[in-house]
Every structure is written in structure tokens, then in C-alpha cells.
């Protein structure tokens, strides 16, 4: 394994530990989706986005909008690691008076837009991408959507606009973990054939294993996938990834681990770290 890949995969282990610490101390959080999205966020913030605490108001910075705002613990873990705010502040998530609430807000350094209600991020990202084009700026706009939130019609309005305006500075990532709060997406409100839908809406589409770090790096670095079209990365993920008993369980959408479950999770993550360090 290459050093840079090992470094990133070790970060993912640390981020998963941070996510579980945040959720257990807060007594609330979206464990399953955090764990499905974290490898994507890891690659974005450590390899792709030209953002940093020092350039947070640079008009040429890349933009990231996390439309699936409920998975904010994953975002907080990454932003703290990247130095946008002190890691110690992660202990205050959801506490009285904390700026780190249960969804992303601009009160937190590094966050561009407030989310939480689903189906909002993509249209805002379209606006950011349009502004970048109008101003002749080189920045790119990335947005991360959950698959469950694709039930919201506003995503499809925004997709039409993205294609109509040929926004190849827009990269939409869908965390396709297949589960929403009630159960499998295909039972709740079928999304498939999802890739065909996105292509027919005008995206240049690629699919990737959303936990395969080198594949994510390669795919995201190659955007735009096609000149003159918005890019869509359909990232196939596992809800609850990395914690065996949470994987693919709709019940872990927003379940808080018990003390015993946490012990098992620490042991599993420690084993993952040991395996990576020995590889």
C-alpha cells in the first residue's frame, strides 16, 4: 500500500473514532450516514478541495456544500482535523450554547451553507457554480447528497438547471448507501435505475466504491468527467461502514451506541488501525 493511501486510511479510522466519540458524548447523531460518508469527506478535504482555515474567505476557494446535513458529525471530525477549529471543541457538539449544533451552519469555520432540511444543497451549489462561471473564477463546487434525500423533487429541479447551464465546475457526489430512516430506499420510494436517471438529466456520471480511497481520489481528481456537463459521482457505500454490527442496518440511522457497543467499536477500529500500520 502506498504511503499516501495508508495515511488517508488511517485518517478514516481516526475520523470514525471521532464520530463515535462525538455521538456518544452528545447523546445524538447520525451514526450510519456519518460512517458511509466519511471516506468521501476524508478524500475531499485531504486531497481534493483547495480550502484551508487560512483561505476560508478566498473568493477562489473551492466550495463544499453538505446537503445531507444530518451527517454533520463526520464533517466536524474532518474540519477539526484540518484545523478549522480546535479538536477539543468536538466535546461540545449539541451542548447548550455550542456553535457545533446537530446540522452544519456557517457559525462554524469552513462551512459555506446551513443545511439540515433535505433537498436544499444542490440548488445552492448550482448558484455557487453559476457565480464562479460568471466571474471567470477557477473554483469548483462540490456537494454531497444522501440517496434518501433524492426523494425531494428540488434535487431534480436543480439537476435540470445544472445541465441546462452546462456547469462543469459542479461535482455532485451521492452517498448511495441504499438505506433511509424507514428502510431500504428501494422499498421506501424506489430510486433505481438511479445512474440512468442522472445521465438522462444531463450529468456525466461515474460510479465508485465510496470506501475505496484510491478510487475516490482518482475519480474526484478527474472531474469534470466531461467538458460542458455537471459531474455526478455515484458513490456506492455501506451505511454504518467500519463498525460491523452497524453496517447495513437502517436502525443505525440515528442510533447512539451503548457503552458495550462502544467497547466493541473501539476494538474493531483499533484492529483496523493495527492492520494498516502493519501493512
Amino acid at each position: 500500500m502506498e504511503t499516501s493511501e495508508r495515511t488517508l486510511r488511517l485518517k478514516s479510522v481516526s475520523y470514525r473514532e471521532a464520530i463515535l466519540r462525538i455521538i456518544s458524548q452528545a447523546g445524538a447523531g447520525h451514526t450510519g450516514g456519518d460512517l458511509s460518508a466519511i471516506d468521501i469527506l476524508n478524500v475531499l478535504y485531504n486531497r481534493i478541495l483547495n480550502v484551508s482555515p487560512q483561505t476560508a474567505s478566498d473568493p477562489d476557494r473551492d466550495r463544499f456544500v453538505q446537503s445531507k446535513g444530518h451527517c454533520v458529525e463526520a464533517l466536524y471530525a474532518v474540519l477539526a482535523d484540518r484545523g478549522f477549529f480546535p479538536s477539543a471543541e468536538l466535546d461540545t457538539v449539541c451542548r447548550y450554547g455550542s456553535r457545533l449544533i446537530g446540522h452544519p451552519t456557517r457559525a462554524v469555520p469552513g462551512i459555506e451553507h446551513n443545511t439540515g432540511a433535505l433537498g436544499h444543497g444542490l440548488a445552492v451549489a448550482v448558484g455557487m457554480a453559476l457565480a464562479g462561471r460568471l466571474d471567470g473564477r477557477s473554483y469548483r463546487v462540490f456537494t454531497l447528497l444522501g440517496d434518501g434525500e433524492l426523494d425531494e423533487g428540488s434535487n431534480w429541479e436543480a439537476s435540470m438547471a445544472a445541465a441546462h447551464y452546462g456547469l462543469d465546475n459542479l461535482i455532485v457526489i451521492v452517498d448511495r448507501n441504499g438505506l433511509q430512516i424507514t428502510g431500504p430506499t428501494e422499498q421506501v420510494n424506489a430510486l433505481e435505475p438511479l445512474a440512468d436517471k442522472f445521465r438522462s438529466f444531463g450529468y456525466a456520471l461515474r460510479q465508485v466504491d465510496g470506501h475505496d480511497i484510491p478510487a475516490l481520489v482518482e475519480a474526484l481528481a478527474s472531474a469534470p468527467f466531461e467538458r460542458g456537463k455537471p459531474s455526478l459521482l455515484l458513490a456506492h457505500t455501506v451505511k454504518g461502514k467500519g463498525i460491523s454490527f452497524a453496517e447495513n442496518q437502517a436502525g443505525w440511522h440515528h442510533r447512539v451506541p451503548s457503552a458495550a457497543e462502544l467497547e466493541r467499536a473501539w476494538a474493531e477500529l483499533a484492529a483496523q488501525r493495527a492492520a494498516l500500520e502493519g501493512s
Binding site: H113, V124, G127
Partner: protein, 313 residues
């Protein structure tokens, strides 16, 4: 009162002149450039208008994204749609996220008359009053509209500007400076005060003129900024004239009238008060003018309301 241009036309003219000299001015609209009198703007400045098609949620979401990158965005769409279908986008993407979008609700109130409740916006002021971080501006005439657009252009915060499409007479006193967050005393008096906004202001002014002939002296406030309300002007009016009548082209629930009543009560001003608005019922069909008359938004009816309130004096 001699009729001037519709406020909608003044809005479009003002915006065009701003956009000519500032390339950051953008219109985002939902297949409603014609309704917004912006066809000429679109022809002259095609790079400064973003069309979403008939998709109001997209209008506001895209506007928020543009504003976040420093664009001076006017999101233009019929008031009935943009403040209902896209209310969550206004609440979250504009107000909560604090991206300074100017939401322009066109053909507001019952401007569309007999087209029915789908096209009426009698809820918009109430809905937006309950949302933090948006100023609500309801201009009455050409001057207020022009000044409101100029002020909105310069304002680094979210605004809702509610416009009708009927020709309006000039009511604003040229001597009085326009300032967002205040109101204009467009007629002074000491017996009763009409507090009106938007296209009902000339009706209230007409009632005041009619009452003057009967020896009743009416103050008329054009409450062009409904939120935040100019409490000081309202309290002074209640103290100095002793009776208040609110007048609005909006539901009786949650609009200007209830805002005024709250201020008066909280200041302990238990003056004779009435609220003239569209009642909570299935609306009668008809033109804007006919709907106004049906619900007492007429010179005669407003004058009678005033006489009833001050009858004991």
C-alpha cells in the same frame, strides 16, 4: 389622485439602471420575466438574468448560492408562488444561512383578482414575519418603490419586497427622506390614524381626504417596512390621534394589522382600533378593485370605519 405607473414598472426600470452599472446585479426568475416587466432587461442584459423555468424552489436555492459568492441577487417571481412553494428555501437557504437575497414577490395580494386563490398571496407577510432575518418591504408608490429597490441593492441582508401591478398615484411626500425600517407620514392629522401599506395606501389617503371635508382630521402612515415595524411612529400616532385603523391587502391573520395591534397593546395604548384586511374566508371572485370594495378596502368603507371609531368623541 392622478395615476402614475405600476410599482412593478418602477421596480423594473430601477433594477435595469442599477444592473447597467453593476455587473454583479442579477435577476433570477421562474419563467416570469414578462410578469416582472423584465423582458427589456433580459434583452439588454442577457448575462445578468438567470432563468430557472417554472421552479420556484430552484429560484431561491440558486439565488442563495449566487449571493454567497457576492452576487447582488433579485429573485423575482409571483408572490403567491415564491413565498409558499419556496418558503423553506427562503427560511433556510436565505434567512438562516444569511445570504443576502432580495426576494421580489410580484403581483402580490389579490393583484391577479379573479384568477383565484392559487394566485393570491394573502399569507406572505404572515409567513415571513415569523421567519428570522428578513426585512419585509411593501412600497406604495413610485417613489417608495424606487427608493426601496435602491436601498435593497445596498443592503447586505435578506429582504422581501412585495409589489403590486396596478397603476399607483404618487403619495409619498417629496420632502420626506425614505429609509428602510421606518414609515412615511404621508398626511398629518389629529383625530385618527390610518396605517396602511402597499396598494391600500391610496385608498386610505382617499378616505382621509373624504373625511377632511367632514371636519375629521386623519393621519396616514405608509408603513412601507412591515418588519421591522416603525414602532415609534405607530405609538406616536396612537397617542397623538387616539384611534388607529390598519389597512392591508393581506389576510387579517398575521399581517400589518396584527403587528400594529401587538405594538399598541404592549405599549399599554388601549385606543379604539380596527383592522381592515382580507377576512379568513373563501374569497369572492372579482378584480382587485372589486375584491377591495367587497371587503371594505374602499374609500367609503374606510371613512365609515373611522367615523365609527371616533363616534364617541
Amino acid at each position: 389622485m392622478a395615476m402614475g405607473k405600476p410599482n412593478l414598472d418602477i421596480f423594473a426600470e430601477t433594477l435595469l439602471s442599477l444592473a447597467r452599472s453593476d455587473r454583479d446585479v442579477l435577476v433570477v426568475t421562474s419563467d416570469s420575466r414578462g410578469s416582472g416587466r423584465l423582458s427589456g432587461y433580459a434583452q439588454e442584459l442577457p448575462e445578468q438574468i438567470i432563468e430557472t423555468g417554472i421552479a420556484e424552489q430552484n429560484v431561491i436555492g440558486i439565488s442563495a448560492g449566487l449571493a454567497s459568492a457576492g452576487k447582488k441577487v433579485f429573485a423575482v417571481s409571483p408572490a403567491c408562488f415564491i413565498t409558499a412553494r419556496a418558503l423553506e428555501q427562503i427560511k433556510n437557504d436565505v434567512c438562516y444561512s444569511d445570504h443576502p437575497v432580495r426576494v421580489v414577490g410580484i403581483s402580490a395580494g389579490v393583484s391577479y383578482g379573479a384568477l383565484g386563490a392559487t394566485h393570491h398571496s394573502l399569507h406572505d407577510i404572515a409567513a415571513l414575519r415569523a421567519i428570522h432575518n428578513i426585512m419585509i418591504v411593501v412600497p406604495a408608490d413610485s417613489l417608495e418603490t424606487r427608493e426601496a429597490i435602491l436601498a435593497a441593492y445596498a443592503a447586505p441582508y435578506p429582504l422581501y419586497i412585495r409589489l403590486g401591478k396596478a397603476p399607483m398615484p404618487d403619495v409619498y411626500p417629496a420632502s420626506e427622506p425614505f429609509r428602510l425600517g421606518t414609515c412615511a407620514r404621508i398626511r398629518d392629522g389629529h383625530d385618527v390614524t390610518y396605517v396602511a401599506c402597499g396598494e391600500t395606501v391610496p385608498v386610505a389617503l382617499g378616505a382621509a381626504e373624504a373625511l377632511a371635508a367632514q371636519g375629521v382630521s386623519c393621519r396616514v402612515l405608509s408603513m412601507h417596512t412591515v418588519k421591522p415595524l416603525d414602532e415609534q411612529a405607530l405609538v406616536s400616532a396612537a397617542r397623538e390621534t387616539g384611534a388607529v385603523i390598519s389597512v392591508e391587502e393581506h389576510s387579517a391573520h398575521g399581517g400589518l394589522g396584527e403587528a400594529c395591534a401587538t405594538v399598541l397593546l404592549r405599549h399599554g395604548l388601549h385606543v379604539p382600533f380596527d383592522l381592515v384586511a382580507i377576512p379568513d374566508e373563501h374569497l369572492v371572485s372579482g378584480s382587485q378593485n372589486e375584491v377591495f370594495r367587497h371587503y371594505g378596502l374602499s374609500v367609503e368603507s374606510l371613512a365609515a370605519t373611522a367615523m365609527r371609531l371616533i363616534g364617541g368623541r
